[in-house]
C-alpha cells in the first residue's frame, strides 16, 4: 500500500480531520458506555446501585457479585451459579465448532478440487441452508433428536449446531479453496498422495486465515445461540445463554443487579477472548509464494 500523498494529507488536516475524529470518538463512547455501566455496577455492593447513579464509579470495590454469579447465584431452583452452565456451553461449542469447521473444509475441498456433475447444484442447496430461519426447523429437529434418542443432552445441541453451521462453513471454505491453485493438488496426485493426504498435507496447512474466520464466526454464533439452547436442552444441559436468562428472571426477593451484570459479562467473555486472540491472524496471507511470484 502506498502512503497517502502529502497534498491530500494537508487538505484533510484541519477541519475534516477534527470532524472525523469527533464522530469516531462519539461512536466509540456510545458503544463503550453499556460495557462501562456493566463493569462499574458489577463491582459495587447492591446498596450503591440502589442509590440510582448507574454511571458513578464504585465507592466500595467488591468482587462479591462476580463470585456469586459464578458459583452461588440462584439459577432456576438450584443455587449453583453459572459455572456448570459455562462448562456446558464449552462442552457444546468446542466440538460443534470443530465438527462444522472440519466438515465445511472437506466440503469446500470436494466442491472445488474434485468437481463432479451437479456440484454447483449441491453447493447452491447447501447455501440455501444459510437462509432457513431457525424457527422452521425447531419441531422437525426435535422429532429427529427424539428418534435418535439424544434429546435434552449436550449431544443434541452439538449435532444441531454442527448441522446448522455446515452451510456457512462450506461457503467460507469453498470460496477460499476456489482460489487455491489446482496445480498443487495435481502435483500431489502425481506424487501419489491420497484424497485425505492432499487435504491434510497440502490444503489444510494453507488454510489458516479461513479457519480463523470460520472459527470466530461459528464460535460466536453457537455460543450466543439462545433458541436452540432453550428448545433442546434439559436442566442439566442448559447452555450459558439460557442460564443467564434464568439467573436474571429467578429471584429470591431482591433483584441482585450487580450479580446480573457480572453474569452477563461472564457470558460474553469467551467470544471476546476468541476475537482478541485470533483476530490478528484474520488477514494474514499464508499463500504467498505457492505459485509464481
Amino acid at each position: 500500500m502506498s502512503a497517502p500523498s502529502p497534498e491530500i494529507a494537508v487538505k484533510t488536516t484541519s477541519w475534516t480531520r477534527i470532524l472525523i475524529y469527533a464522530v469516531l470518538i462519539l461512536f466509540a463512547f456510545y458503544y463503550l458506555l453499556p460495557l462501562y455501566v456493566m463493569l462499574v455496577n458489577s463491582v459495587k455492593p447492591l446498596d450503591e446501585i440502589r442509590e440510582g447513579d448507574m454511571l458513578a464509579l464504585p465507592r466500595q470495590f467488591t468482587i462479591e457479585p462476580w463470585l456469586s454469579a459464578w458459583s452461588t447465584a440462584q439459577i432456576g431452583v438450584q443455587p449453583t451459579g453459572l459455572r456448570p452452565y459455562f462448562i456446558n456451553s464449552i462442552m457444546m461449542v468446542v466440538p460443534a465448532v470443530a465438527l462444522s469447521t472440519l466438515l465445511g473444509a472437506l466440503n469446500g475441498y470436494v466442491l472445488t478440487k474434485w468437481r463432479f456433475p451437479g456440484d454447483n447444484l449441491v453447493f447452491t442447496l447447501m447455501l440455501l441452508s444459510c437462509f432457513i430461519p431457525f424457527q422452521i426447523v425447531l419441531i422437525p429437529m426435535a422429532t429427529v433428536l427424539g428418534i435418535i434418542g439424544i434429546g435434552g443432552t449436550i449431544w443434541a445441541l452439538i449435532l444441531v449446531h454442527a448441522v446448522y453451521g455446515i452451510g456457512f462453513t462450506t461457503l467460507f471454505f469453498r470460496n477460499y479453496y476456489e482460489a487455491f491453485p489446482t496445480e498443487l493438488v495435481r502435483a500431489a496426485m502425481i506424487d501419489g498422495a491420497s484424497f485425505f493426504q492432499i487435504f491434510r498435507r497440502i490444503l489444510l496447512p494453507s488454510s489458516g486465515p479461513i479457519i480463523v474466520v470460520t472459527v470466530i464466526w461459528q464460535f460466536t454464533n453457537i455460543w450466543n445461540d439462545f433458541l436452540f439452547g432453550v428448545s433442546y436442552s434439559d436442566a442439566n444441559s442448559l447452555p450459558m445463554t439460557v442460564a443467564l436468562n434464568n439467573l436474571v428472571s429467578s429471584s429470591t426477593g431482591v433483584k441482585e443487579y450487580n450479580v446480573h451484570f457480572a453474569g452477563a459479562i461472564l457470558a460474553a467473555l469467551p467470544t471476546l477472548i476468541v476475537y482478541i486472540v485470533s483476530g490478528r491472524y484474520f488477514v494474514r496471507g499464508l499463500m504467498a509464494g505457492a505459485v509464481k511470484g
Binding site: I190, Q197, A290
Partner: protein, 371 residues
Amino acid sequence: MPFLEIRNLEKRFGNVEVLKGINLAIDEGGFLVLVGPSGCGKSTLLNTIAGLEAITGGEIHINGRKVNDLHPSERDIAMVFQSYALYPNMTVAQNIAFGMEIRGVPKEQRDKAVSEVSETLQIRHLLDRKPSQLSGGQRQRVAMGRALVRRPQVFLFDEPLSNLDAKLRVDMRTEIKRLHQSMKTTIVYVTHDQIEAMTLATRIAVLKDGILQQFGTPAEIYNHPANMFVADFMGSPAMNLIPANVEKSGSSLRLSMPQRSGNPLTLALPDGAQRIAKHAGGNVIFGIRPEALTDPDGADRTSSGVVTSECQIEVVEPAGSDTFAITHLGGKQVVARLRADAKVSAGKMAKLAFNLDKAVFFDPGTQQRIA
C-alpha cells in the same frame, strides 16, 4: 516398439471436442514437444498422458504398458507445472521428498536422493527455504528437482519456462537440454513458443483445434511444413506466404506475383519444381522463409535455385545480427532477411535473391502443401 505411444486419443468436455484422434509415438530417450496456439489442446493432451484428465477414447501406452486407467502416481511419470506448484507450507527439501515420503521411502534414502538432486541442480543452499523465499528461477529449479528425484520413465513439462523473464528462459532452456542429454529420459514438453520447440525437440507435434497438424523432426517441420498453418506458426519471423500465379512458358514454369507498383514480379522456377506443373495457369501460395530471401551476396552459394529480382523496399529494420527488409508481393507484406551490412534503404529498389530450393508451395483452397 515406441516407448510412448498415443493411439486415436479423443477427449471431450461435454459436447466440446478438445482432442480429435491424436496419434503420436516416440522412442525411448526422445524429446517430444507439443506446440500450438493457446486453446489447441496441447496442455489437455499432456494432462491425459499424466492421467490428470480422463480420456474419452483411444489408448496411451508407456513402455509397452497401457496406462489409460492408471492413477497418475502409478504411471511412472513426473510433471513440472507452469506455475511450479510448489507446496507453500513445506521447505524445498520437503517439497522434493514429498513423493518419496508418500511412497514410504525410508528417511536416509530420501535424504540421500534429495542431496543428489540438489547437487545436480545447484540448489543445495536453498533446501531449508520456503517457496515464498525463492526467486522465479529458483522455484523453477526446485520444481525440476521434485520431478528428477523420482527417476520416472517419462518427464512431462507444462510450459515450464513461460513464467520466467527472457534471459533466464534462454538459460533454463539450455539447462533442460543439457539435463536431457545426460539423463536420456523420455520427455514430453508443452510450449506455445516455437523457438523452444525447435531448440529442444527431437520430435515436434504441432496442434491446432485439437487436431494434429504435423508430427516430425524439427527440420521436417521447419523445411517441409505440412500446411500453411504449420508454415506460419513455426519460425520467427514467420514464413512469407505469397499468393502467386503459375505460368507456363515453353517447358519451364514461372511464378508471377503482383507488386504494389509496376509490373508483376516473375521468378523462373528451377526444374525440380515440376510437381506444381499441374497447377499451371492457376494459383498457388508460394512459401519462402525470410532467410531464403536475401541480398544477392548473402545468398546460399551451394544452392542451384537462386533467382534474383528487383523489389521495392518499403521498410528496413536493422536487428544487429541481420537486417530485415520488408517489401510487398502478391498483396502481402514480405520479409527478407539480409546480412547486417547489406546496402538497402527504404523506398528504393533493391536486388533480392530468392532461394527457390527452399521454397514450398501450398494449395490456396485446402492450405495443404503441394510441393
